[in-house]
Symmetry: C2
């Protein structure tokens, strides 16, 4: 609760936590999938937005420079889309060592079997082809995520469906912690998952997932030229060879993007019908998408380019957000240590 809201006598706003791994710039899939939602949430929630550089290092340990550089990129993306440092607290994870401390305490409350059986972890280990050679830090990241959530006191965590088992593990850790160390007066709070009603955007190549590293993403930082080039190269309907041929709307990523972004949805219905009966060429269709995307992303790009001229200003915002986040985490850790009876022999008080 901020002192401001206390002064006004307002009820404390519920706390939410979201975040991203700084392993690449954010793309329009992030925009519709989570960023827009955060920009909205910051008005009703006390919003912590975590630039999870430590989590990025769990499988990029050998690329510290890349991770460090992308902290700025991700922060620029945040600010450009409208995450407002006056409303949201943007925290760089490695600036809050209390998160690592809490992670270590939580590691005692989960077993190897529980970590390996977590469907989210299991899928990601498989996807990355790690097997038994998974870095220990990656294997245990549910404990680290539980630390992030509980240290900031988040009770609301917007996640994708695939992240639900991860959040369930956080709840299990919280219950176990409270049962063992604070049975009469729980120290930690169980978070609730909120799965935002957003569509997942396919990749430019029509693959189900748009991914930073899949080479099929349209980034917020892409220039107008790159945007045109990427849209013009998009996968459509491979059977749709001549404009006069009938084309498929279903599974056509150009229409998926128009569904997500076109403000004139009734005109879009006409376009779809036209495409299906034939006579609407891909180039015309893509020009419409470019127009739609430019109207949304041009102002974001401009703002991003302006901010990128002033990295010191961004750094100041991150420094201040990290300081505020650390303050909250330190308060939690102080309660945690007391509950675990850790301070008896070495606290100066």
């Amino acid at each position: 609760m901020s002192s401001e809201s206390l002064a006004k006598g307002a009820a404390p706003r519920p706390v939410s936590l979201t975040g991203d791994r700084p392993t690449g710039p954010l793309h329009i899939g992030h925009y519709v999938g989570s960023l827009l939602n955060r920009v909205e949430m910051q008005h009703t929630y006390q919003s912590f937005v975590l630039v999870a550089d430590l989590q990025a290092l769990t499988d990029h340990a050998d690329q510290p420079q890349k991770v460090s550089d992308h902290i700025l990129e991700v922060a620029l993306d945040y600010l450009a889309v409208g995450i407002d440092p006056k409303l949201s607290t943007v925290v760089v994870q490695s600036g809050v060592p209390e998160l690592s401390e809490l992670t270590v305490y939580f590691l005692n409350l989960v077993t190897l079997a529980q970590l390996r059986q977590n469907p989210t972890v299991k899928a990601e280990i498989q996807q990355k082809g790690f097997g038994e050679r998974v870095p220990a830090g990656f294997l245990v990241y549910p404990a680290s995520q539980a630390a992030d959530i509980t240290a900031f006191g988040a009770t609301v965590v917007p996640v994708g469906e695939d992240q639900l088992p991860m959040l369930e593990q956080t709840c299990e850790i919280v219950r176990k912690f409270n049962r063992l160390y604070a049975p009469d007066d729980p120290v930690l709070q169980e978070p609730a998952a909120v799965v935002p009603r957003v569509s997942r955007l396919p990749g430019l190549d029509g693959q189900q997932k748009m991914g930073k590293s899949l080479g099929n993403a349209l980034f917020l930082k892409d220039s107008a030229e790159v945007l045109v080039q990427k849209v013009m190269g998009m996968y459509t309907d491979p059977q749709h060879l001549r404009a006069s041929d009938p084309g498929r709307v279903q599974g056509n990523p150009v229409f998926a993007y128009l569904d997500a972004f076109d403000p004139d949805q009734s005109a879009l219905e006409d376009l779809k019908a036209h495409y299906e009966r034939g006579g609407l060429g891909d180039v015309t269709l893509k020009r419409r998408l470019i127009e739609v995307l430019e109207s949304i992303f041009q102002p974001i790009r401009v703002r991003r380019e302006e901010l990128a001229q002033h990295p010191d200003e961004v750094r100041r915002i991150l420094l201040e957000g990290t300081r505020r986040g650390r303050e909250v985490a330190a308060q939690t850790l102080s309660k945690v240590r007391r509950a675990m009876q850790l301070e008896r022999w070495h606290s100066p008080a």
Copy 2:
């Protein structure tokens, strides 16, 4: 390097790290196996002695009170045997959160396979019957131990033979850290294992190992009465039924203890010969052992009882040692963060 040694122009003393998990009071096996060695080492090494309460919690997560209580017990044992807070720095692990932070960084540098294949970890997981249900914190404790060693800059770590693979893992982590993050100017130092030439004491019951939790240990805190009772109940040679029978010296724990403690080793040789040819009763033999042990442990016990009257004084020593230890660890972590490029976006400097 202390400012004192700088002032004197002396070369910095090499740094050693030793420690114990506070899960029970220390016994005479610890005394001959490590404590005596530490008392000697503190004159030539800059000695850090770690009360490893966080490590104790990795498999005692549900007994925080027990762990907390035994921090005092272990500290009393240390001080009673002659670990001198003016020469050694006694640090409570949980008072140095930098150790947890470094552990989290190190977790990215070891794989699940490497942890599971570590013979020390493997043997302990088997011994404790954990299997796949091993607490994650226990599984990863080689990373935590690597953090303890490197955070204090220890280059010498006295260990038992069984701990050698653990130390090898520390060296691997150090090499990987330096290669990835500080190739030109190594930040962390590889420790050397020193296996002290000490005999391992068998249990009172003749079992190979004396263990805190095996019910076969003679504790430093045991009263004179308990000592007499425990020695009188010791296993000897089960074939040695009458004093007149020849008895076995080999595998007889009473002789193992006399070997370790009797200051008059030539008289001991006579006793052994006498026992082997028959005519020396167990009671006479045990009386000799009681005399020998009392001469060593009576002054230790007296000092321990005195100290136990002043827990605030012990607390002050732990507080001061932990503060000094934390200062050293914080310096290491500052270098570590810089090498990992973690401070670029959120350090106030």
